[in-house]
């Protein structure tokens, strides 16, 4: 190739690997609301900065200031932005016309979307599925194998995925986002959402317990009818299902914060339980029979 052999600066596989490990350990260690992951980003960049600008103190100074800006993404999958940044810095060190604004806009352009996709894929889908499997292994018997399964499965999947995404970003550099679009990224995330939603349905059905002890007594001599049994005949877990959709509706359409959703659950269960509570305190069995929960 046409480059002069002495001037060419090249990041080694070891530099990139070191950067990824530093990030994996320290991504939130100095986290603050104001600058979020910026100090960790600079620490991650340290092997790269040393390799590319080690002999030029003024360039080091610039690089540190360039990367001390606000940065926040999903730490495990957002590393795609770190790989791209490493590639850009390498080109810059070799004389390509890349300025601070360009590097920062590329970082910001990737960190935002990756935070959304990463949150829905990792804590939103992968973790609940693995937890559900772990729970089903140990449910009832309390064996240690459920938690052990989760620990091993999660670490193997997430560490290999994160490493792959970092190197993917470095390999494709500026073309990363185009590569992702060609690869059907939207299609992939929608399919993953389908998987996540089906699993969420099963997890919800298994774990939200909200049944009513109410009974209906007809004419004398006829056994009282359990309202819950009747409801289960219509749709199993109807009250739990309705409550979940109601909370979803409140958060999505009415913009409730999470704390509001918690308060709603507290209020609904408390009001439903009030007859039982008052009946117990004042010793009124008749009142307790009217308790909804």
């Amino acid at each position: 190739m046409g480059s002069t052999p002495t001037a060419e600066k090249k990041l080694t596989k070891g530099d990139l690997r070191r950067a990824w490990w530093i990030w994996t350990f320290f991504n939130l260690s100095a986290f603050s609301m104001e600058r979020m992951q910026a100090p960790a980003f600079v620490y991650m960049m340290s092997p790269i900065i040393k390799r590319l600008y080690g002999d030029r103190p003024d360039e080091v100074k610039q690089a540190l200031q360039r990367h001390m800006v606000f940065f926040n993404t999903e730490p495990q999958t957002g590393v795609i932005a770190h790989g791209v940044t490493a590639a850009l810095e390498e080109q810059r060190a070799n004389g390509a016309p890349i300025n601070d604004e360009m590097i920062n806009s590329v970082k910001a352009g990737i960190m935002g979307p990756m935070a959304g996709i990463g949150d829905s894929m990792i804590p939103g889908t992968l973790i609940p599925i693995l937890l559900a499997i772990g729970i089903s292994i140990s449910s009832g018997n309390g064996s240690p194998f459920g938690p052990i399964f989760y620990i091993v499965a999660y670490l193997v999947i997430i560490l290999s995925l994160s490493y792959y995404l970092f190197m993917f970003g470095y390999r494709y550099g500026m073309n990363t986002m185009r590569e992702l679009a060609v690869g059907g990224f939207r299609r992939l995330t929608t399919s993953l959402a389908v998987l996540g939603l089906i699993v969420a349905g099963a997890i919800g059905a298994q774990n939200i317990h909200l049944a009513t002890p109410l009974t209906y007594t007809g004419s004398q001599g006829v056994a009282p009818v359990s309202i819950q049994t009747t409801l289960d005949g219509i749709f199993p877990g109807l009250i739990a299902f309705a409550l979940t959709l109601f909370l979803w509706y409140g958060m999505r359409r009415r913009g409730w914060p999470i704390n509001r959703a918690l308060v709603v659950v507290l209020a609904v269960t408390f009001i439903g339980f009030l007859p039982n509570l008052l009946g117990s305190i004042f010793g009124l069995a008749g009142l307790k029979a009217w308790s909804i929960f």
């Binding site: 100090p39 998987l195 939200i208 909370l247 918690l262």
Partner: protein, 264 residues
């Protein structure tokens, strides 16, 4: 609870905290050590009853199964829920349902602690700005380590004191709950059963880009009840359906591209 048990549990509380690097950062800490399922196992080993620990861990995990922390906004502080709620419930001899309510209460208190830390930590970033101007890379690296001091105080020292002081009190408290105010336990049981709805609703909010996609949530719910399938079996069916969905849309896009090409 012996002092060494409180110390080991407090150490795990620190190792699993959101801002602790030592256990593979967020991957091994926040997303593994601090998951209540794992915290139940660790509490069980430390307190000498693995079965009880895991069962309580599962009950607490179900409430927080879909905990997402977008942009550092922590809806419930799992560190305190897991490493104060679970051990104190075990020591107090609480049922899993009562343990859930205890964990939820500690989780709410922990949110305030987290907010203090994440605002105070901005000091490190300001220090780093000065280092950056001087070109002092080592200074910035050092600050990533020094920032562990406040995290350690909040996530290790505080839990150690609470666990030691609380364990003497926990037994009496749970006895009082069961003997004198059984209606409160009844209410906490109802609440513990309903709380997982919040986690599932947050999850739906996060992963369903449109309301129509919620039919898949309905499908999972119905498969569980009418199909009498385990969650794992439903997950396998989900994987098959997601793959079909993916291939179907790939094909549609191919046809659309081919159609475009023909028209041109």
């Amino acid at each position: 609870m012996a002092w060494w048990q409180a110390a080991v549990l407090a150490l795990f509380c620190y190792l699993g905290a959101l801002t602790t690097p030592w256990a593979l950062g967020t991957s091994g800490g926040w997303y593994v050590i601090t998951r209540p399922l794992v915290a139940g196992l660790i509490s069980g080993i430390v307190l000498g009853d693995v079965t009880k620990g895991v069962l309580i861990g599962i009950a607490v995990q179900l409430v927080f199964i879909a905990l997402i922390t977008p942009g550092g906004a922590v809806p419930a502080d799992l560190s305190f829920a897991s490493y104060l709620g679970i051990p104190l419930a075990m020591v107090g001899g609480a049922t899993p349902q009562v343990a859930v309510s205890l964990a939820v209460a500690f989780g709410a208190i922990g949110v305030a602690a987290w907010q203090v830390l994440s605002v105070g930590n901005a000091g490190w970033a300001h220090l780093d700005d000065r280092y950056a101007e001087e070109g002092n890379l080592e200074g910035i690296i050092r600050s990533n380590y020094l920032a562990q001091i406040p995290t350690f105080i909040l996530r290790a020292v505080v839990p150690f004191v609470v666990l030691l002081a609380g364990s003497a009190f926990a037994q009496d408290f749970v006895t009082f709950l069961n003997k004198d105010v059984p209606w409160l336990v009844g209410y906490l049981t109802v609440l513990g059963g309903a709380l997982p709805a919040v986690g599932i609703a947050i999850l739906l909010l996060q992963i369903a880009p449109s309301a129509t996609l919620l039919v898949w949530f309905l499908a999972g719910w119905v498969l569980f009840f009418y199909g009498h399938l385990s969650v794992v079996a439903v997950a396998v069916i989900g994987l098959v359906l997601a793959t079909i969905y993916y291939l179907y849309f790939s094909r549609i896009e191919q046809l659309a591209t081919a159609g475009e090409a023909q028209r041109v």
